[in-house]
Symmetry: C2
Subunit: 502 residues, 2 copies
Amino acid sequence: MPRRPALPLWSSLALDRSAAASLQDQIVRYFRDAVLSGRLKGGARVPSSRVLAADHDVARITVVEAYDRLVAEGFLTSRPGSGLFVAATEGEPKVRLVAGTSRHQRKRMPKLRRNEQVFLVPERPLGLLPLSPGVPALDHFPWRDWTRITARLLRERPAHAMGYGDPRGDCGLRQAIAEYLGQARGIACTADQVIVVAGSQQGIDLTARVVAAPGAEAWVEDPGYPAARAALASAGLGIVPVPVGAEGLDAVKGAETAPRARLVLVSPSHQYPLGATMSLRRRLALLDWAERADAWILEDDYDGEYRYGGRPLAPLHTLDRGNRVLYLGTFSKVLAPGLRLGYLVVPEAAIAHFAQLKAMTDRHAPGLDQRIVARFLAEGRLAAHLRRMRVLYAGRRAALVQALRREADDFLAVDDDAGAGLNLVARLKLRADDVAASRHALERQVHAAALSPYYVGRPRERGFVLGFAGTPEDRIAPAVRILAAAIADQRPPRSRGRVQTG
Amino acid sequence: MPRRPALPLWSSLALDRSAAASLQDQIVRYFRDAVLSGRLKGGARVPSSRVLAADHDVARITVVEAYDRLVAEGFLTSRPGSGLFVAATEGEPKVRLVAGTSRHQRKRMPKLRRNEQVFLVPERPLGLLPLSPGVPALDHFPWRDWTRITARLLRERPAHAMGYGDPRGDCGLRQAIAEYLGQARGIACTADQVIVVAGSQQGIDLTARVVAAPGAEAWVEDPGYPAARAALASAGLGIVPVPVGAEGLDAVKGAETAPRARLVLVSPSHQYPLGATMSLRRRLALLDWAERADAWILEDDYDGEYRYGGRPLAPLHTLDRGNRVLYLGTFSKVLAPGLRLGYLVVPEAAIAHFAQLKAMTDRHAPGLDQRIVARFLAEGRLAAHLRRMRVLYAGRRAALVQALRREADDFLAVDDDAGAGLNLVARLKLRADDVAASRHALERQVHAAALSPYYVGRPRERGFVLGFAGTPEDRIAPAVRILAAAIADQRPPRSRGRVQTG
């Protein structure tokens, strides 16, 4: 491919190799400023990574990674086959992956299985944007400990960590998890009962495929977690939405609708997304039904470590006398989602079944990563990190609540409790399209997840699921202002000018 | 739990904190010597990690990891609920995971889905044993480059690598893979067509679930790869074995048996396990049938980088005009299985389907690992590593062939070709039970995989799939001797004493 002559604009990118900031950071900053200042307009094409790298004498991977970050942050957008462009600031950002291509090519490719698109994969990762739910403080990832532990492990040149391993996971990690669960969550289990999985998502996927055959029914919380429903659906299970109230999932309603369901997926510590803690009586009711129906319960305790007030209830797993609760935990919220590590605690007699399916889907979790986490746990670093994060998150939550009351009190209501986890729900006080407002906010680089898509059918409420844990305090109020403006723009025009009566 | 008094034997474990060897290594060596010398007998119980750690004032995780290695190497064996014991040297080692427990507990647990146990998960990882097939030289893993790249990445504190990412994988890695495939394998694809998966195993699992619905049929090579069949079966596909000859899979035979299969799984570069390279005419015949049947082909090119002579054929993917070949590659054989990283190249119109299912099963591959591999590729380190490994493996292969001719010529025949990949097949020249011989060799810490289980039905041949790449040269001949002895012991007694006739 012939080299394109450098466009005049790019000659203003001057990399300073003596600066403290890395070359990659300088490239990111350059494009970010150019877009924000308007020097680069939406839709403008940026040079290919190869050209930019050649023109500025840097490694191509440096440019590729810089572009990758700019795409993640929303400044650039990729059009497969065409290249990278400055993201447009008007119109709806696409939230589905582009699935089509030339009709000619589509005709020649064999048919694919019909896919129930119940889970929309965003075109770009949104987790770095302010208010993104379910993301821990990535700016406070424990780099120092992580780096030290990693370096020491690599110095040992652990060949045994690089080969094919046990499908249940590294023995040291399973042991550390069992001990952690015993101390931190009151769960009594052996290391053998622990299956290391690739995050909660895989825990749900494996469970659906181990405990039930296609066609069986599964209760899900409504509103609930769309990605979980998608995993159950892709395993061929029938999704039965069961309403969630202030006390959590109501097993009585579930039993009326689908008394012979095989599986229930619940988040009793901190219901996702509404935040309720499942009351003791609802827990006992659920266990009672499951016993009579001979059904399984998958307890998704994704962020049970974070409570900012009030007494935590022990996991549902601790109340189970019938070996029917599968306990699912993850390191995504207490460490980082990018690690892709979680764990399932299963009854002894089910170990072989889960290990077998885990082996058949992807063999086992990565060897080095498991050992790093095991040592991190064994050194007590997780407990220390959690203590710091609880303080940080409580502060960020308070800042979010305050910002909502100051900037969005006309539109949004927040529950007056101490809170838990990484997110809170802000309900709309008046009529507005939360999905449209969410899209609008996304164009302005704020990820305020609309509440309605969390419902299986017609939403009973509208609002937003707002993450505070992953958002630095100084970015919270500006983000809330953007959200408030986005809501205001979605309201029916007639009501905007309404004269206040009475 | 009260502390047990230290048994007299353990007082001979004297850890030297000033020694070069790590404490973990010293513990491993101590137990290994004690077992090999007979001081510790089969069945003897070893102290719990907690007790040993307390008695010798080391961190418990150090003991746990040492025990883990000893289990992996076969010196210790774990009995859930009872502890760790010295492995017995007589009797059959169990090759199924222990599935049962007290009948009482089994009665109370809800039913699990009926599992077709077509893939036996070994009780312990066997990959560190001599002759273990499919394992690269873990003793030559490129630690120096890996450590340097990892350290540099961690110094940057890459928060963007720690959040939820693109289900297709890190952009930089996909780009690096696309470039690598273009240069090394002649495959033309864009970065967008690359899906980063958790090893070949996940590539097969995802493909089975994306391209076909339960009940559809899939051709598999016979003999073929049991773990692959298991993944297809667990997705509900019907397994249709198609015989493999000297030219590879015969599409004519497949079409006679199952003309409307939806998917074919082939390893055309280096058939696993028999080693044949699929001839050009068989490739064209397969593509021709797939076009008429509108079927998909999954090309498993797991070790196509390794050839020790002869001209390699370009991947089947390069002959495909109908967008029906899915190309599967992996870093397991060129770097290490423990990384759990591989890639699928899919047609543009299928990207969204694969990305969707990947997102639903486990979201995406780990962020840090992907970036490390991307940089490793971008720096040209993989190409350099492969060059070194080709030389090393050619030497180890020659040593294995020589040892087989010297020590096992009565029993085993090896093809007289230059070879490829990480393994070779040694066929039995006379009647013997290869499965029993394999078990016998395993008791003596040699992993000579029997050939018959690779067949779907009744085996047409018996022998062994022997890995040379992962076995240091000085351990090859001793391992072959053990295998020869194991075979001799499996032969019918009458033939052992047979007098040689004219």
